[in-house]
């Protein structure tokens, strides 16, 4: 339960558990599908999804940047879908997997909306992160 403390507010804990479990399950499902296809690119893609699944449940300090993991996983999934639309083979398992990936994006968007403040919240957090990064770089530069 530690892993979802970053998103759980009173009254939303079970929603958070359900959403997080669904996101991890969908991520592992598409990782397994890509792993089953073999070859370097599919294996790298599968490992990427597996790493995101781990990042979605890592507890402690990782919880503070969960929003970043969500945004990155949405980007990774959309890039994978885009790659398939442009170059991918059309066969039943591929269509099933694209369904899984679309569902993953939808669930991540719901999490993002409920717990990260939606697009405006993400923009605020990104600005704050960029400021902190710039300040760190400036401090190191001054030494």
């Amino acid at each position: 339960m530690d892993a979802i403390n970053d998103i759980a507010r009173p009254g939303t804990r079970w929603t958070a558990v359900f959403l997080r479990a669904t996101v991890v399950l969908l991520t592992l499902t598409t990782a397994a599908v890509h792993a089953s296809l073999g070859g370097f690119l599919f294996t790298m893609n599968a490992l990427g999804y597996a790493a995101f699944a781990v990042a979605m449940v890592l507890p402690g300090p990782f919880g503070r940047i969960r929003w970043l993991v969500r945004v990155a996983l949405i980007g990774f999934t959309l890039a994978t879908i885009g790659g398939w639309v442009l170059f991918g083979a059309r066969f039943p398992l591929a269509y099933v997997d694209k369904g899984v990936e679309v569902a993953l994006v939808v669930f991540l968007a719901i999490e993002l909306w409920l717990f990260d403040g939606g697009p405006f919240g993400i923009a605020r957090r990104t600005r704050r992160l960029a400021s902190a990064f710039a300040a760190t770089v400036a401090t190191r530069g001054a030494r």
């Binding site: 592992l28 990782a31 397994a32 599908v33 792993a35 089953s36 296809l37 073999g38 070859g39 294996t43 599968a46 490992l47 597996a50 699944a53 781990v54 449940v57 890592l58 507890p59 402690g60 170059f87 083979a89 059309r90 066969f91 039943p92 398992l93």
Partner: protein, 132 residues
């Protein structure tokens, strides 16, 4: 090792097992594949075709047997000079085989590939002199 580190390691190990199980090669159980009469045979193994050149008859239909020793799905698509498909074979999971009935194609040089693994590729020479 911290509790956080141990837990992360456990998750990673479980995920690695899932990935490994999904990508483990499966064994071929059928008899050794042989080319259909008047047709062609190609074998997919370890994500590669066993040959990169095929000779097929031009102007008449022929059978194209694809035998796969891989667990990964494969198919064969035949493309013309401009990259337009002249025949698209059904994708199937392995290990297993499919016999495609290819409609007549004009004499000339074509390319073939697996649509799932587009680096599995070769050339097809269609000629009227290829025996039926």
């Amino acid at each position: 090792m911290t509790r956080l580190g141990a837990r992360s390691l456990g998750w990673s190990a479980a995920l690695a097992l899932v990935i490994a199980a999904c990508s483990a090669p499966a064994a071929w159980t059928g008899p050794p594949p042989t080319a259909p009469p008047g047709g062609v045979l190609i074998v997919a193994q370890a994500l590669a075709f066993d040959r990169t050149r095929l000779a097929v008859p031009a102007g008449v239909p022929f059978e194209f047997l694809v035998a796969s020793y891989d667990a990964a799905p494969h198919n064969v698509t035949i493309l013309d000079d401009g990259g337009r498909p002249v025949f698209v074979g059904e994708t199937f999971g392995g290990p297993g085989s499919r016999t495609y009935s290819v409609p007549p194609i004009a004499a000339g040089r074509y390319r073939f590939r697996c649509d799932v693994h587009t680096y599995m590729t070769g050339t097809v020479d269609a000629s009227p002199s290829v025996a039926q």
